[in-house]
């Protein structure tokens, strides 16, 4: 059998999906392969796709954990619609993933894990290797389990530990297939276990053995190694970055640009917790982290910190944000800065905690009691989180308001090569606390921004009281006056609406500023929409890509831009929230490409929708 892993002509990009049991170490396998691939100079995007259960019963389909990587010698914008290669470490991983594989794609499976019991447990009635189930694919069977056991045993590790080296063995093999260097993985393993640890040594040996197996054993000729030339990125220093990392670092940079120390108060929740973990290690940056007793306390503590003159930040996901809404309302009423990070996940309620969705747009823009406007910004990719986090801090401190910063489960966990910015690239926006006692009251406003003064406890002569009860426009004292409430409500709305004059005008990411069709997206759908629009333009279709970063207030020219197109298609991972927002604001006759499967939008899905909108076959 001559199994080439992909046709030569398609080698500008390839999608590999690793899948196995939750305990197989698939995420480590995938992220180390991504690291090696990044260091080789390829463009890439990753998609960790794991279950909510930490260790589901072994061998079950709901316990399957997967990691997809799309990498190439051209710029890669998504984790890929369809894998070209599937590595399945057990029958359940095959069951869950084989149908998504491209026809003619390659399956590498661990035959050692294909025992009758495991095959039945995965839901196959007959061994799928024998009944034609996989006839549309090319299959390479290797007894990875036995190989790993044999290599690891001499290090005196237990049977269980020896078997667990199979992810590193697989990594060695796949690294050989794509000509990846193993240095970064060697260093990682040595760092994790220590140089003398037998488990670490066993893992290193497995890694080396997997690589050597590819080089010297039977499969030579069956799967030939593939050369993937480096992408010519613009000059600079690069790294792989996940959304959670870039977002955390953006918050740190934002606080520094504002000249503030920060307090992050959070309660653990998937997929937001990495932000808490990352910032907890950054105390030397003047970041204090507080794991609160619940989501409400987290938001309240962040607001208390802002009241005290630091930058209050709270980070959560949908269900947690719902709990925070009353405290966000207090921040709106008392006009204190607050950054609320929402790493969205599929809902409602607990929903699908580890799966991605963009369905908290309404919650962010409108989801509070009373008229309670706040700015909302959304990041479009892992690296973009850095800039958007800085923007959230800028708006919160300049306008004295809570700001909603949207990410999602896909962005948070995915990684991409990132040209590392410098904090010096961004103009500082230092905060000036109010100290002048003459004529002071806590709701003195800046004429231009309408932001109130920030007078912090400890300042002599500025003692004042603020709170949730409506405040008098001219003194800040509590007021039940009808006209005053109207005026304060109008002022709060005007303050936020006015931000539209302080953000960039809306442009297009691809195509012309007018034409037959605009595909509108926001957040993590940037990649698939952008690639699809470029693809379709290359085929001659008149289509443009509009990507909205500032969700609220919307860019001031957005209405005229949308109305420069005959048709508008909003593509988003919810049931039509941006679609409804745009219709309500502009009475634009937009259509939706809406998807809520917990999986990222595919390029092919966007292309089909474009064809359909433009009446093409």
């Amino acid at each position: 059998m001559n199994v080439q892993n992909v046709p030569k002509s398609e080698l500008d990009a390839i999608v590999v999906r690793f899948a196995g049991d939750s305990g197989d170490g698939v995420q480590l396998l995938g992220s180390q392969f991504a690291q090696e691939t990044a260091l080789a100079g390829n463009s890439l995007a990753t998609f960790p796709d794991f279950p909510a259960e930490i260790r589901a019963p072994t061998g079950t389909t709901y316990g399957v954990s997967a990691f997809q990587i799309n990498f190439g010698s051209r710029v890669v914008k998504t984790a890929g619609d369809q894998p070209d290669v599937l590595v399945a470490l057990n029958p359940a991983a095959l069951m869950v993933n084989y149908k998504g594989l491209r026809k003619g794609g390659l399956i590498i499976l661990d035959s050692g894990a294909f025992k009758d019991k495991e095959i039945k447990r995965a839901g196959f009635t007959v061994d799928p290797r024998t009944d034609g189930t996989l006839k549309e694919f090319r299959v390479l069977e290797l007894d990875i389990s036995a190989q790993a056991l044999e290599v690891a045993k001499p290090f005196g590790v237990s049977q269980k530990e020896a078997l667990r080296t199979k992810n590193l063995w697989t990594l060695g093999l796949v690294s050989w297939m794509y000509d990846r260097e193993l240095n970064s993985t060697n260093e990682y393993v040595a760092r994790k276990f220590g140089a003398d640890d037998p488990v670490g040594q066993a893992n290193l040996a497995a890694l080396k053995a997997g690589h050597a197996y590819g080089e010297t054993h039977e499969i030579s000729g069956d799967v030939s190694p593939v050369q993937m030339p480096a992408v010519q990125f613009e000059p600079g220093t690069y790294r792989l970055v996940s959304g959670a990392e870039a977002l955390s670092w953006g918050l740190v940079a934002g606080a520094q640009l504002a000249g503030l120390e920060a307090v992050l108060a959070s309660y653990p929740i998937t997929p937001s917790s990495p932000i808490l973990h990352i910032l907890a290690k950054l105390k030397q940056f003047g970041i204090t982290t507080f794991q609160a007793e619940d989501e409400i306390a987290a938001c309240c503590a962040a607001l208390g910190a802002s009241y005290g003159g630091k930058l209050g930040i709270t980070a959560s996901s949908g269900p947690g944000i719902a709990l925070k809404t009353e405290a966000i309302g207090l921040g709106i009423g008392t006009e204190l800065p607050l950054v609320v990070v929402n790493t969205q996940r599929a809902g409602p309620s607990t929903g699908l905690p580890t799966k991605t969705e963009q369905s908290d747009l309404f919650l962010s823009v409108w989801g509070r009691n009373a008229d309670a406007p706040i700015p909302v910004v959304a990041s479009r990719s892992p690296g973009d989180c850095y800039e958007v986090a800085i923007e959230a801090v800028r708006l919160a401190t300049k306008y004295m308001t809570p700001v909603m910063l949207l990410s999602d489960g896909y962005i948070a966990n995915a990684a991409e090569p990132w040209k590392i910015p410098s904090i010096k690239d961004t103009a500082p926006f230092p905060v000036a606390f109010h100290t002048e006692t003459e004529g002071f009251h806590p709701f003195l406003r800046d004429d231009k921004t309408l932001a109130r003064v920030w007078a912090v406890p400890g300042t002599p002569g500025l003692m004042h009281r603020i709170g949730g009860i409506e405040r008098d426009y001219n003194s800040g004292n509590i007021s039940y006056d009808a006209a005053n409430h109207q005026k304060m409500t109008d002022t709060r709305a005007a303050k936020i609406n006015n931000i539209a004059n302080d953000i960039p005008e809306q442009g297009v990411e691809a195509g012309e500023l007018k034409g037959k069709l605009a595909v509108v997206g926001w957040g993590s759908t940037f990649g698939p929409i952008n690639r699809a629009v470029h693809n379709m333009r290359a085929k001659g279709f008149d289509v443009s890509h509009i990507h909205i970063r500032h969700i609220w207030p919307l860019p001031r020219n957005l209405e005229s831009l949308l109305k420069s197109f005959d048709k508008v298609l909003v593509a988003e991972m919810n049931n039509g929230q941006m679609l409804t927002l745009l219709k309500s604001q502009y009475l634009v006759d937009a259509k939706g490409l809406l998807k809520v499967s917990g999986q990222p939008l595919k390029i092919d899905e966007v292309e089909s929708a474009i064809r359909s909108q433009l009446g093409a076959p």
């Binding site: 108060a265 208390g304 009241y307 406890p457 003194s475």
Partner: protein, 340 residues
Amino acid sequence: MNVQVEPAKLTPKDFASDQEVRWCPGCGDYAILKAMHKALADMGAKLENTVFVSGIGCSSRFPYYMATYGFHTIHGRAPAVATGLKLARPELDVWVVTGDGDALSIGGNHLFHVLRRNVDVNILLFNNEIYGLTKGQYSPTSRIGQKSPSTPMGSVDSPAEACTFALGCNARFVARGIDIQAKELGELFARARAHKGASFVEIIQNCIVYNDGTFSNFTDKDVAAEMQLHVKHGQPMLYGKAKNKGLRLNTKTLQIETVVVGENGVTAEDILVHDEKNRVLAGLLASLRPPQYPEILGVIYCDPAPSYEAQVVAQTAQARAKGPGDIDKLMRAGNTWSVT
């Protein structure tokens, strides 16, 4: 205008804001407010370094009537807001004013955690055993059988006991006072403020509109001496006009008994001596309630431990000992590559 000009030596009046106090005439809150104005003046507190944080309810209007900094927050959440404030500004003198509904019902979780963490804030729980601001529903401290708009046939659920709850949360300072006892309250405020870590003071407070007289069996002048025991560290727990009633521990049942010195062979040596640092004793004392026992007042428990924010500050200092963070350096740590 909220501007307050600070004279050299502050008087109680200087701690009063210019806002009209809006509690019902005769409300116990007036007395507590007055006691606080005086206590802060006596302690030499600074207006600008003092912050009152409150939740929702009658008691939570307190900050508006103080000339210090104040933050009237949302229902039950004052301890969380105060925790964030202390993390941001550990040097500030932070007071939390709350009520039985605010602290023990909607905010029970936050009260638990602010106490167990030992955040250096002074928590004043005004306990009137009723919801006043929402017009008289029974509260988590209302006694069984309390008739109210929401319990027309009498409440059936067992009440929470504030000081026992606080001790159960591992509070390191627990005290109890009465709204109308200004001198004693002032002393408790001073002790609470001096205590590093969370201090919890329950203030028995009469709601003149919805629960008037509920505490009169121990607060009325004619019964006060016989029904109140003001405990002092190191002193025998004696009470009564003749100071001949006292508390004795029955070592067989591990219960406290009321006894009379000179009767039934009871001598002065039998009377328990108050030890503020004895947590077991504090637990026993906190649970004694009239009419079977005298109301226990004063500092029931005080055994300081390092405060939460002080330890957080210490960790930050430790992390900073290696120098301040450099974000550009941080982002370039680990595996990077250059494109030229």
